[in-house]
């Protein structure tokens, strides 16, 4: 037994302060959490969407990769589908381009026009883009195709949110 024994009064004091402290913390912490919530919220653009495309299957020829994701539109959530044109460049780096034409938003196709081989072609107003997505001057589009950030997870391609250049 130690010399400084805890008196009944001290013991009760400690217990009450301890329990009271927990209760106060229990009430205050959620309030603090609510207050700083916007700071802690995860940014949506860090979300990557998984596709069924194996990275090892990619070649230097752009291939069409379809993916689907849940879209929230007010109260209504629906399964939306998207597409990307994906290929490997000379340095073996994966490039994923958005198929949305920068003119008025049609879907562009690789080698879509017989007269313009190795270009992305927009069938609506004849917009052309080179393989790296740069718009060909003299055609309607005024900007290069958007680029998806890419990520490899277990050998499969994951796509982020398309960003303008």
């Amino acid at each position: 037994m130690s010399k400084n024994r805890v008196t009944r009064r001290q013991f009760l004091n400690y217990t009450l302060t301890g329990v009271g402290g927990f209760m106060a913390a229990g009430m205050l912490l959620p309030m603090v959490r609510f207050g700083v919530d916007p700071v802690l919220q995860q940014k949506g653009d860090s979300d990557f969407i998984a596709t069924n495309q194996k990275i090892s299957d990619l070649t230097t020829e752009p291939t069409r990769v379809d993916y689907s994701f849940e879209q929230q539109d007010g109260w209504y959530s629906s399964e939306e589908t998207g597409t990307a044109w994906v290929y490997k460049d000379e340095n073996d780096k994966v490039v994923a381009l958005s198929p949305v034409c920068k003119h008025l938003g049609c879907t562009v196709n690789w080698n879509g026009d017989k007269a313009n081989e190795n270009h992305f072609y927009c069938p609506c107003h004849g917009g052309l883009y080179t393989k790296d997505g740069t718009n060909v001057p003299g055609t309607p589009p005024i900007a290069a195709l958007d680029v998806f950030p890419t990520k490899e997870v277990d050998g499969f391609l994951h796509l982020g949110k398309a960003e303008p250049r």
């Binding site: 379809d66 049609c106 879907t107």
Partner: protein
């Protein structure tokens, strides 16, 4: 362009580029062919959605005309011709109707716009991935129809 407020704003701004209008035709029936008309409507609805995605910058996809199968064919045709008159007066160069209902096939000659008749494919029991690839194939077929029509008139 969809029949959405945002798209229509763009449509009004870039009207010169959007010279094509598509009107889906949706049959509605409560008789024995109710299932069929539902499948047709559903299929054309999905297909027109994909089609709009492909040609967003040059077509205006209208919300579609639903009609009762109990109404006589002459009356239905008269209604569609009313639509056609309005669309022509709005200076659309190319007008298309898209439907799975074969009734329209018989009156095709009386319409100025092109009629695209696609037999409906039962998609309800299909895997999403598979469904999408089928729709993509159909859209690819239609791509040529539209591109040819546009090239002939340019």
């Amino acid at each position: 362009m969809k029949w959405h407020t945002q798209d229509i704003q763009l449509f009004l701004k870039e009207r010169d580029y959007i010279d094509t209008v598509i009107l889906p035709l949706y049959p509605v029936s409560f008789a024995d062919d109710i299932q069929q008309t539902v499948a047709m409507t559903e299929f054309i609805n999905l297909l027109s959605g994909q089609l709009e995605k492909q040609f967003k910058g040059r077509i205006l996809m209208l919300p579609g005309m639903s009609y009762l199968k109990t109404i006589s064919e002459e009356k239905r045709l008269a209604d569609l011709i009313e639509w056609e008159k309005e669309l022509i007066s709005q200076n659309f160069k190319h007008i298309f109707y898209i439907t799975s209902d074969s009734d329209w096939k018989t009156v095709e000659e009386q319409l100025d716009g092109g009629l695209i008749w696609m037999p409906s494919i039962p998609l309800d029991n299909m895997d999403d991935q598979y469904k999408l690839s089928i729709l993509e194939d159909q859209v690819k077929q239609l791509l040529n129809v539209f591109v040819k029509k546009w090239q002939n008139n340019d």
